[in-house]
């Protein structure tokens, strides 16, 4: 029969996010004084990928019907850590990168262990661990400072072949190396199953714990890639509380915009990436139309509300009102 129809239905959320982003980006670049130039794309990409990594991290956890309120703090912590360790000789820099990614994964794994074995609700567990991670970040960088290997930083934030932003290339590589294998593996399938109906997953003998553990750990890893990039852009480490919190909340917004259901079991990290890029473009749109930046939060809120409303149409079809609650 018509296989592509089923594929389309399944990817609807992701495609919608892609659509929203492309539309916004066209409006943005066509109104930008410099037009659709490599420079404009590079600036936009560098601003977008940070949230894209954090949103991917959030998406993995949300797919299991959890939520991770510590992603922004892992992002901040790894930024501070990178400003200490990603320096020195090429070998030291490489080791530093590995340490940063390892610490990020460890943070995620701790979240996972608390949620799985401590049986705490993800929202409570990650608020607590998020505060701990921020505390460590603050201990590492009481005041902004430190540095990063500038050769690596410039390579990562520059352009490949003079056209394609390097940050986008890394983002694509991470999708290929982390997301694609995960989503196609038994563990990834189990993560979706767990998020959709944990009881049914259990009855079907699905490895629920392994799936959650993998989701949280990879989430920490992705957040730390984001933290690494933040260091590449800013050349410093900064334990900024407001920024960490903003990334956490924006990541949830991006995930929702990207068609990932907060009830779990539905959506993809690709959708979350485009959700993040679209969310970032909203701010840029105001810039090219010369709006006062003060309007940015309000405008972002309205767009988010509209996008979420699209997803709520399904509730009109509910026949048993008790289904609204669960």
């Amino acid at each position: 029969m018509k296989d592509w129809r089923f594929w389309l239905a399944e990817q609807r959320g992701t495609l919608l996010a892609v659509g929203i982003f492309v539309m916004m980006f066209i409006i943005y670049s066509s109104n930008h004084p410099a037009g659709f130039s490599p420079n404009v794309v590079q600036t936009a990409a560098n601003k977008g990928v940070l949230l894209a990594f954090v949103a991917m991290a959030q998406a993995l956890v949300v797919i299991t019907a959890g939520i991770d309120l510590s992603v922004g703090m892992i992002f901040t912590l790894t930024n501070c850590l990178a400003s200490w360790v990603v320096v020195g000789s090429p070998l030291q820099v490489a080791m530093g990168v590995i340490v940063v990614l390892g610490v990020g994964s460890l943070c995620g794994a701790i979240n996972g262990a608390i949620v799985i074995y401590g049986r705490l609700q993800p929202i409570v567990a990650t608020i607590a661990t998020g505060a701990v991670y921020f505390g460590i970040a603050l201990a590492l960088r009481p005041t902004p400072g430190g540095g990063v290997d500038e050769t690596l930083a410039d390579a990562m934030t520059g352009r490949v072949f003079g056209v394609v932003p390097a940050s986008l290339v890394v983002l694509a590589a991470v999708v290929a190396v982390v997301w694609v294998p995960f989503s196609r593996s038994v563990t990834g399938r189990a993560a979706y199953a767990t998020g959709s109906s944990e009881a049914a997953a259990y009855m079907s003998g699905v490895p629920i714990r392994r799936a959650k553990m993998a989701a949280y750990t990879l989430s920490g890893l992705l957040a730390s890639i984001g933290g690494l990039f933040l260091t590449f852009f800013t050349y410093t480490g900064d334990a900024a509380y407001a920024s960490g919190n903003a990334y956490t909340l924006f990541s949830i917004a991006a995930v929702v915009l990207g068609g990932v259901s907060l009830f779990g079991g539905k959506g993809s990290a690709i959708g979350a990436i485009f959700g993040a890029l679209a969310f970032r473009t909203i701010g840029d749109l105001l810039f090219v139309f010369d709006f006062d930046p003060l309007w940015q939060p309000l405008f972002q809120g309205v767009v988010l509300l509209l996008a979420v409303s699209l997803g709520a149409f399904g509730l009109f079809r509910v026949r048993n009102r008790l289904d609204w609650f669960g």
């Binding site: 294998p181 009855m203 079991g265 048993n320 009102r321």
Partner: protein, 514 residues
């Protein structure tokens, strides 16, 4: 029955939940190449029995053996590994995954560590074909399928695991007649292939068509195993009955009430495929029971009356006037005056961590408040009255409801709704899991409320209660009223027979000659 060595056997298996014994020293033999039917009324222990076999719950005592070797299953996955696959009544499908994803969920085919979608598709198509459901597209999402199709996917999923023992728990309850006959062909083929099948069903004609042997359970114990066809329907019903009558019921009024107009009436009330053309009426002072097997639409009927279900067709009349009840809030309004005592008191009836006071006054806050401010003194008086009326045993009204016993919790649920002085009281199996003493107090209370002029609709899975409490009983089957029993017609025999959809005339005749 003993010509072949049993593939699986169970000896002296018991399981208790709290103080309630779900199953007591049960024995069961399952033989390869045969279909073994399990019969028993609500709460006879069938579900627990198969949950033990499928590794969902662990037995308290007793032994199980597969192929003559002792077997214990720590999880459903372990039971699957051993070749025991169960199709549960509550579906075990994942709504957001595709049909193919679901069919291979327990053991997906992999290549280089990733799921091989091509192989998965082939397995799914093969399994669907084996289940006689090739019309289902493997890429469709399960949540988009109607219930009967999902049930077919469930069967395909079980077959894809290559079971040696296949347990079907009411697996046909959601199926259309055409699907049932397809499933029967599949089941007979599986029997010919040498599988052992355990078939739990309430539909006697299905058992007559399929089963090779039958076991009857009552009160958690196996009371008989016999070759299919060797007993009449009537004898089977006899086996299923036989509990002692331990409840004390208040006397029923004898005066006829038919002159008073009905307080609540429905005409051709229907909702999706779960309720079909239900027409009935309840007068003030009357207790009308809802009987039948679990899950035949009784709960849906109560929810429909209470304004929880959307898209109902047909009419609901209060005091002879058609009304539309759009929400529980509308149902409890003074004009309608309805109350629903829910089945699951822990989630729908009470806020367990909150105090007795708060729980009691939720539904009746507007009665004790002036201009939006709660009058604590009036609230206290009303609550004291209620606690006295129902004899709720609590250390005070400011302790958490969760600290009370199950029976007292249920009294709080009922008290909460009585504070509103409802004229129509709907009860959804209110005595489940509460002690005998509290049950008796409840029966007295129901009769007292009816005498005071309330119209009561009482759904119970306990036939004794229906017999002891109700003036009339509607027996539901498959979402429709199968039979209405009035006064002395309400007997256990009549209830079970009509619940099983057996021809009443035949059972009635047998009863006369017996």
């Amino acid at each position: 029955m003993t010509e072949a060595a049993p593939l699986f056997c169970m000896e002296g298996v018991s399981k208790r939940y709290g103080g309630v014994r779900a199953i007591e020293k049960a024995d069961l033999d399952v033989t390869a190449g045969r279909i073994h039917a399990i019969l028993g009324e609500n709460g006879a222990g069938k579900s627990t029995l198969i949950k033990i076999m499928a590794g969902v719950v662990a037995p308290d005592e007793g032994r199980m053996a597969l192929d003559g070797r002792a077997a214990t299953f720590a999880s459903p996955a372990a039971a699957n590994q051993a070749g025991i696959v169960c199709i549960f009544q509550e579906l075990s499908l994942i709504p957001d995954l595709s049909v193919a994803d679901n069919i291979v969920i327990s053991n997906p085919p992999t290549r280089f560590g990733m799921i091989d979608r091509g192989a998965q598709r082939r397995i799914a198509e093969e399994a669907l074909a084996r289940a006689g459901a090739s019309d289902i597209h493997p890429l469709a999402l399960v949540k988009d399928l109607p219930l009967s199709r999902r049930q077919m996917v469930e069967i395909a999923k079980a077959l894809a695991r290559n079971p040696r023992i296949l347990i079907l728990d009411e697996a046909t309850s959601a199926l259309t007649a055409a699907d049932v006959s397809k499933v029967f062909i599949v089941l007979k083929r599986l029997r010919a292939e040498g599988l052992a099948l355990l078939y739990i069903s309430h539909r006697m004609h299905e058992i007559a068509e399929l089963a090779d042997e039958c076991s009857v359970f009552r009160n958690g114990q196996k009371v008989a195993t016999y070759a299919a066809g060797s007993k009449s329907d009537n004898e089977v019903v006899e086996l299923m009955i036989g509990r002692e009558y331990s409840h004390v019921f208040p006397p029923k009024p004898t005066r006829p009430k038919s002159e008073t107009p009905p307080v609540l009436e429905t005409r051709k009330l229907s909702w999706t495929e779960r309720l079909r053309d239900i027409s009935f009426s309840v007068r003030a002072g009357e207790i009308v029971g809802l009987g039948g097997l679990d899950g035949q639409g009784q709960r849906d009927l109560l929810l429909a009356l209470f304004g929880v279900l959307r898209g109902c067709s047909g009419e609901i009349l209060i005091d002879g006037k058609a009304v539309s009840i759009a929400s529980p809030a509308a149902a409890k309004s003074k004009k309608i005056g309805m109350a629903l005592i829910p089945e699951d008191r822990k989630t729908e009836g009470l806020m367990l961590p909150m105090t007795v006071r708060d729980n009691l006054s939720f539904a009746a806050l507007d009665r004790v408040s002036h201009g939006g401010i709660v009058d604590r003194e009036a609230e206290r008086r009303l609550i004291d009255d209620m606690i006295k009326l129902l004899g709720i045993r609590t250390a005070g009204i400011d302790i958490a409801v969760g600290a009370l016993s199950g029976g007292n919790q249920q009294k709080v649920v009922i008290a909460k709704w009585l504070m509103n002085q409802p004229r129509i009281i709907l009860l959804n199996d209110p005595t489940r899991g509460i002690d005998v003493g509290t049950k008796q107090e409840l029966y007295q209370l129901l009769r007292k409320l009816a005498d005071a002029g309330a119209a009561i609709v009482f759904y119970s899975t306990d036939y004794d209660e229906l017999i002891g409490c109700c003036d009339r009983v509607l027996v539901l089957y498959d979402g429709a009223v199968k039979r209405e029993l009035v006064g002395p017609e309400i007997t256990e025999r009549a209830l079970i027979a009509s619940a099983l959809n057996i021809d009443m005339a035949e059972v009635g005749r047998a009863a006369v000659t017996a």
